[in-house]
């Protein structure tokens, strides 16, 4: 039986399911980085992965501070290159161990330091941690230069969008692996609850299912979405207790 909507499982209770296993907090990327202070190969790999994943908020912040596209690319590349080389993560403690806060504070310090700034541009030209094609493709529609948002707001919004994108991309990959991309698309429409979404009856007909089976499939889809969201956030915080705060922050940013 599909639980009623008001009985949805709280995120604190979602640790995975029989198919995907529990979310192991102790092995999240950011906690690995902090634990090793960037010194171990595993920590370096984890930090690189996080940098590749979360470059867009930094790039958006730099652009909003007035940098032209090419300079912003170099600065973003250089910022992450220095971050990876420096291996100095002591200030993280002051930022409550959250990657989001750490990167924002770091990039502000970084942009305020002229010598570091110049070094980063030079370094950024030579080092391509983030694929340039990716930057240019994603920034094709550059609406934010004239936007009313501040640099901090752009950073926060892009951070939130990146988290949501990661979650949906992972969910899509799971359905794709099972050969169910079309079904994923329909479930996603249901999740977003847009007025033109197909009805459960239409989906049932399209996939030769009963409506009850569609309800159950959607319930599982949403449960998996929640588990992945929690896992994605857990990768960016140092303490399990921070996950819910980050989630609330995410909701607030997305609604702003």
């Amino acid at each position: 039986m599909v639980p009623a909507e008001d009985e949805v499982t709280p995120l604190t209770e979602i640790g995975g399911n029989a198919h995907h296993g529990p979310v192991a907090f102790t092995t999240t990327h950011w906690s690995v980085v902090l634990e090793a202070q960037g010194e171990s190969p595993a920590a370096q790999e984890a930090l690189e992965k996080l940098c590749r994943m979360y470059w867009r908020p930094i790039y958006g912040f730099v652009r909003r501070q007035g940098a032209e596209a090419e300079d912003a690319e170099d600065l973003t590349q250089g910022f992450f290159a220095l971050l990876l080389e420096r291996k100095d993560l002591n200030t993280v403690r002051k930022e409550k161990g959250r990657l989001r806060s750490y990167l924002l504070t770091s990039v502000k310090h970084f942009l305020a330091d002229e010598s570091r700034h110049a070094m980063a541009v030079k370094r950024g030209k030579g080092q391509r941690l983030i694929p340039l094609d990716d930057i240019r493709e994603r920034e094709r529609v550059d609406v934010e230069r004239s936007d009313r948002l501040t640099a901090d707001q752009i950073y926060e919004r892009r951070w939130a969008f990146t988290v949501l994108e990661q979650v949906m991309a992972r969910l899509r990959d799971e359905y794709r692996s099972a050969g169910n991309v079309r079904f994923f698309d329909q479930m996603k429409k249901m999740l977003m609850d847009e007025p033109d979404r197909p009805s459960q009856a239409q989906i049932a007909s399209e996939f030769d299912m009963t409506e009850n089976a569609v309800k159950q499939a959607f319930y599982r889809f949403r449960q998996r979405y929640q588990a992945l969201l929690r896992e994605e956030i857990s990768h960016t915080v140092a303490m399990p207790g921070d996950i819910e705060d980050e989630l609330r922050h995410l909701i607030a940013v997305v609604r702003a």
């Binding site: 599909v2 909507e5 008001d6 949805v8 949501l164 909701i251």
Partner: protein
């Protein structure tokens, strides 16, 4: 570059051009978290939600009443509409001022599925 303003057909909020999945990010997140009970999506009969709103025993009406009381106390949530789910109570930042209140914590704990 001039951007075309798009509004979410559901919540009527502006959809940013770089929004994930090209849709309304707030509706995506709220739908994913199940923050708002939606009878049509959840497969819940709409009359069930209506009865919950009408204080039907066994439905989340007591939660709604409690939330409404909190809203009155806050004095700034007059246009906040039920149904309110346990997930909404737990994660919506709108409740942050009350989060440390033992009564609120007890309410959330009691309503955990």
């Amino acid at each position: 570059m001039t951007s075309v303003l798009r509004l979410c057909p559901k919540c009527e909020a502006e959809i940013p051009a770089d929004a994930p999945e090209g849709g309304c990010p707030a509706c995506l997140l709220e739908g994913g978290l199940g923050l708002f009970a939606d009878a049509s999506v959840a497969g819940v009969d709409s009359s069930a939600v209506a009865s919950a709103k009408a204080d039907d025993p066994g439905r989340p009406a007591s939660l709604i009443r409690a939330a409404a009381r909190f809203a009155e106390v806050l004095g700034e949530l007059g246009d906040y509409e039920p149904p309110i789910t346990p997930a909404l109570l737990k994660f919506d930042p709108i409740w942050d001022p009350l989060r440390s209140d033992p009564a609120f914590q007890k309410l959330c704990e009691e309503k955990r599925p």
